[in-house]
């Protein structure tokens, strides 16, 4: 069963996945190459700046991968009114678990590309004496961050159903308005606190709040 669910997930998300894989493979090397040319490669601060820029790419790629994997299966099933999954002889939670695991398994592909791409980028760049290369570390962080974001997106999609996009967009604007109103009226920023809770350790999205550095101190 898992193999077949994995296959369907692959078929739906393969274009986005291949985009992520190719991006993860090539972009870090490109950023380092071009970055070293543009900034003074002999300034370690500049080198760290370029590597930090590449780190932003990894964070964005992680979110994109998570989004691509989480969104597609539910949209496809929803367009078919979920008749397929519901008429199969497996309990619904079991089916959702299979879908979830299939997406989570496919995260390994771009993760592997991030690792290989990182190794190529760092071995072909001059690393100053006081700095070190961490392609494995970045790949592990990418894997973990993508899993968390994928799981959050997957949950939003399966809990909010066909209203997921509406729920996400409305929530975003409501939060924005409340934050703005709270700060203008001088109230203690509750939304800011909530945001802090989810983006600082051990909040789920604190995984993104880190140094995504291929080359670091």
């Amino acid at each position: 069963m898992f193999k077949q669910v994995l296959y369907t997930q692959w078929k739906w998300s393969r274009a986005e996945l291949m985009f992520c894989v190719v991006g993860a493979f090539i972009v870090p090397t490109l950023i380092l190459r071009v970055g070293y040319e543009v900034v003074d490669g002999y300034s370690i601060t500049n080198v760290l700046g370029v590597v930090g820029f590449a780190g932003m790419f990894f964070g964005s790629l992680s979110l994109f991968t998570a989004f691509a994997l989480a969104w597609r299966p539910y949209i496809v099933d929803m367009s078919l009114r979920h008749v397929g999954p519901l008429s199969l002889p497996v309990p619904w939670p079991e089916f959702v678990r299979l879908r979830f695991l299939a997406g989570a398994t496919l995260v390994l592909l771009p993760t592997f590309a991030v690792w290989i791409g990182g190794v190529i980028a760092t071995t072909t760049s001059a690393i100053p004496l006081t700095l070190h290369a961490y392609p494995g570390g970045v790949a592990l962080r990418f894997l973990t961050a993508t899993l968390v974001a994928y799981a959050a997106g997957f949950m939003l999609q399966y809990v909010a159903g066909k209203h997921a996009v509406r729920v996400a967009v409305i929530s975003f604007f409501v939060v924005l308005l409340l934050a703005l109103a709270a700060s203008m009226l001088g109230f203690e920023n509750v939304i800011g606190k909530v945001w802090n809770v989810i983006t600082t350790w051990p909040g789920p999205f604190s995984i993104f709040n880190a140094r995504w550095m291929l080359i670091d101190v």
Binding site: M1, K3, K11, L80, R81, G84, P89, V90
Partner: protein, 304 residues
């Protein structure tokens, strides 16, 4: 003989307008049960409730000995379901779709699936979104039959298909039923098609089951009577009067259900004259049954 489907007091509300009300229905094992009703009468919703796809507000459902929803997935392993609309993933090929479904059914018969694919002339590498309506219908029938189900639930399986494909699909269905002795619950608004294959019928209208009976009783049990000097006071009727209207002069036409020849005595006792007993075909019977449900006898304009 045990029953394949037992539904009792089933209620479900979808929005303000539509509801399934107090549905009670029994599908005996081994029979072909025609689930008749006009469009929007609640057939598809009832089937989805029975298969555990929708949560009932009230009532009990038993499918092949398993309670729904608790044991529905066990029952579904023994059920072949052809939904009203295509439910297959458009990007998958025919072959991938077959393999996907095979993975979920423990009794999947690959040889049988391959045989059906050839019989239905489906190309293995064709993607589902490129299939014609007929091909898609055949593929859904293939998927419903290939795991040797004990119960087939078919929701308008031939709706929109051309006569050749319809014949192929029904032939495959009948061959399977005769060889396996499986139960079939088939919903349709195509009365003549049902007449040929069903041995039980249930008639739905506006979320209610109006009648449930063996096909023979349905076919022969509804008659049109031409009555002269019809009694004004009806008294206790030995049959069910579905409708009553003036035909010509002082003659009236009655449509009755549960007619037996011995019931002529009622008219003799009422000093009326029963001039003719006319057999109705299935479609006429169906229409009269619906009309009587929607407008009770005393309410028709013709009844005066």
């Amino acid at each position: 003989m045990s029953d394949a489907i037992i539904v009792r007091n089933l209620s479900y509300r979808a929005g303000k307008e539509f509801a399934i009300r107090d549905l009670a229905m029994t599908v005996p094992s081994g029979c072909v049960y025609g689930f008749l009703g006009p469009n929007g009468s609640g057939k598809t919703t009832s089937l989805r409730l029975m298969l555990g796809m929708l949560p009932a507000d009230y009532g009990t459902i038993n499918l092949l000995g398993h309670d729904v929803p608790a044991g529905v997935h066990k029952a579904l392993a023994k059920i072949g379901y052809v939904p009203e609309r295509l439910h297959l993933y458009p990007q998958l090929t025919v072959d991938e779709t077959i393999r996907y479904h095979a993975a979920f059914y423990p009794d999947w018969d690959s040889a049988r699936a391959e045989q059906l694919r050839r019989e239905f002339a489906l190309r293995a590498e064709q993607t589902v979104d490129r299939l014609s309506k007929g091909e898609a219908g055949k593929l859904m029938m293939l998927l419903a039959l290939a795991h040797n189900p004990d119960l087939l639930v078919l929701d308008e399986p031939t709706d929109g298909l051309d006569p050749v494909v319809r014949r192929d699909v029904l032939a495959a269905l009948l061959e399977y039923v005769s060889s396996r002795g499986a139960t079939v619950l088939i919903s349709s608004h195509l009365i003549h098609e049902q007449e040929r294959i069903c041995d039980h019928v249930g008639i739905m209208d506006d979320g209610r089951l109006l009648a449930e009976m063996p096909m023979a009783a349905f076919r022969g049990g509804i008659k049109r009577l031409r009555v002269s000097k019809a009694p004004v006071e009806r008294g206790a009727l030995p049959f069910t009067l579905l409708s009553r209207g003036v035909s010509a002069g002082r003659e009236e036409e009655w449509v009755v259900r549960g007619w037996q020849p011995a019931m002529k005595e009622y008219f003799v006792a009422a000093e009326s004259e029963l001039r003719e007993v006319i057999d109705l075909d299935l479609e006429e019977s169906f229409v009269e049954l619906l009309r009587s449900a929607r407008t009770p006898v005393g309410m028709t304009g013709e009844d005066n």
